[in-house]
């Protein structure tokens, strides 16, 4: 098992230089979730309009997998219809379950997470941001500023 199976350059890049990692003042939805098993914590904030995600940001702390997944997610879903973002979330989960072979064009940087499949215990880390996004847009954490654990 080689380390670069899991720690692709792309992952390390997003971990060291996270994109859209900031507060989103006046965000329409904000949701925080943690993974008590490892202490990863992620807050996703987004602005929505007419069924579209506008800006998406994240904040949080945790391992390189959880934080890079969140960073890549904000880049790939920002500006997309919610429906498309949710379809991508399902595909990312499918890829991490080893069931979906990623379409490299649609996935972009997210393809780098494919190696996590070989580390079953880390899959939770990779999925966390996507769970939080889904929860946020589906209303689970929709009240502005709500933080639930």
């Amino acid at each position: 098992m080689a380390l670069d199976d899991i720690y692709k350059e792309t992952i390390l890049d997003h971990y060291k230089n996270p994109r859209n990692k900031r507060e989103l003042p006046g965000a329409v939805v904000t949701c925080t979730r943690n993974n008590p098993l490892c202490g990863d914590e992620i807050t996703v904030s987004a602005n929505l309009e007419d069924g579209n995600l506008l800006e998406v940001t994240f904040q949080g702390a945790g391992c390189s997998i959880s934080q890079s997944s969140a960073s890549m997610m904000t880049e790939s879903v920002g500006g997309k219809p919610i429906e498309d973002a949710m379809a991508l979330a399902a595909d990312v989960r499918g890829m991490l379950a080893g069931e979906v072979d990623p379409d490299e064009d649609a996935f972009g940087d997210l393809v780098a997470l494919k190696g996590v499949v070989k580390y079953p215990i880390r899959i939770k880390c990779a999925v966390l941001a996507w769970d939080v996004l889904q929860e946020a847009v589906s209303g689970g954490g929709a009240a502005r500023g709500a933080a639930a654990h």
Partner: protein, 412 residues
């Protein structure tokens, strides 16, 4: 092996087949014995021998194998009880380990004798297995849980013990050695103080018994729980020591076959202790294996086992502190055991564990079933290296070198 002061670690290592494993191209460096220890050939052989030559249900068959099985099972009980200083085998109940043992006390004793407003005093360094069973019992009885806080260096803060232990305190539940901080607690003092207010004392000795010679009679604890799998024995072995008067007074936790004396339509009567707590077919081969583990540890000598733990822990603390790792818990090896929790610079423990695994090094990363400890020290998780009789200084060196590799990998 004849109880020398110093362990012959190279010779010991030859007894552990798993230490020949190659992991990701590197020799296995197993530093997670606080989670579960590895098993020597002598223990594996004892289990295999039981199944190959003596297997039958215990306390049932009126035939040769049944008698052999019963004798092996009860022989293991006497041996394991004696290992923790219990002279009466009736005071040792077989369970699957520490968690089941504490649940047995919290249910069998706690639900019967705790009342609304009674207090159960625990500590902030307890493993979840010495917290959650008491929460479940508190929900049923109305008892109140209180906690002894920790000092910044991971010791019990006993400055307020006088008010925490009071006439309402009916139970003190305390770890003998913290799995998350390594701290060894002053059991003798705590037991005396608890008895002075009429409380019973439940000791979580999961981390203590594998490394230290203890005597339940000298300690005068009421209950002491430990796990066989952390002391070279099979999983699901271990048990609960309890004073006979408590076992007599307690209710069984499980009802079923073999724990009854007579069964009627509306009630049943129980067997004598300890059997009234041992319903159904027990983990016979595992407890026999634990008996072999006790033989192995006795041959090494528990004083030598502890001396080795202290020596390698001191070396690991020195090395970790010298590379600026943040170590949680006491820094003095004499005041602690060989479970060393740390955070290495900016590398998240999960990433660290994955990088170390690629080097063949197995450590634990996470909250170690001690979320109260994590919260007290304001950290979501730690990395933990823990040591046992087969670990060497060279292995500590491999760990520390791998840390540097992890940092290069993740440096911002």
């Amino acid at each position: 092996m004849n109880g020398n002061e110093v362990l012959d670690v190279e010779r010991i290592r030859k007894d552990f087949p798993i230490l020949e494993r190659v992991i990701n191209g590197h020799p296995l460096v197993y530093l997670d014995s606080a989670a579960t220890s590895q098993k020597p050939r002598q223990v594996i052989d004892a289990v295999s021998d039981f199944y190959s030559h003596h297997n039958a249900n215990a306390h049932r068959g009126i035939y040769t194998l049944g008698e052999e099985s019963t004798e092996a099972f009860e022989g293991a009980r006497a041996k394991i009880a004696a290992f923790v200083g219990a002279t009466d085998p009736r005071t040792f109940v077989f369970t699957r380990g520490t968690t089941e043992s504490i649940n047995l006390v919290a249910q069998g004793w706690g639900r019967k004798f705790l009342k609304e407003g009674d207090e159960v005093l625990l500590t902030d360094m307890e493993h979840h297995s010495n917290i959650v069973p008491w929460q479940l019992t508190a929900q049923v009885t109305g008892a109140v849980l209180r906690y002894i806080p920790l000092t910044d260096d991971g010791q019990l803060d006993l400055s307020d013990l006088g008010s925490l232990l009071n006439e309402r305190t009916k139970v003190l539940g305390v770890s003998g050695m913290s799995n998350a901080l390594g701290t060894i607690t002053p059991l003798g003092h705590l037991i005396e103080a608890a008895h002075a207010v009429g409380a019973v004392v439940v000791v979580d000795a999961a981390q203590l018994v594998p490394h230290h010679r203890i005597s339940v009679l000298e300690l005068d604890c009421d209950f002491l729980a430990f796990s066989g799998h952390k002391m070279l024995g099979p999983t699901a072995s271990g048990g609960l020591y309890a004073k006979a008067e408590h076992l007599e007074a307690m209710d069984p936790m499980f009802g079923g076959g073999e724990m009854i004396h007579e069964v009627f339509h509306d009630h049943s009567t129980w067997k004598a202790i300890p059997h009234k707590f041992e319903a159904g077919t027990m983990q016979i081969a595992q407890q026999v294996g634990l008996g072999a583990a006790v033989d192995y540890l006795e041959a090494l000598g528990m004083d030598a086992v502890r001396a080795h733990e202290e020596e390698i822990t001191r070396y690991a603390l020195d090395r970790l502190l010298s590379v600026d790792a943040t170590v949680y818990g006491p820094k003095d090896a004499a005041a602690r055991g060989g479970a060393v929790s740390f955070w290495y610079r900016d590398v998240h423990p999960h990433d660290l564990a994955t990088v170390l695994d690629a080097e063949g090094v197995a450590i634990r990363a996470g909250h170690h079933c001690a979320q109260l400890v994590m919260r007290r020290f304001d950290t979501p998780a730690t990395a933990r290296a823990s040591f046992y009789v087969y670990n060497t200084r060279d292995e500590v060196d491999v760990l520390v070198e791998a840390l540097a590799k992890a940092e290069r990998f993740f440096a911002h």
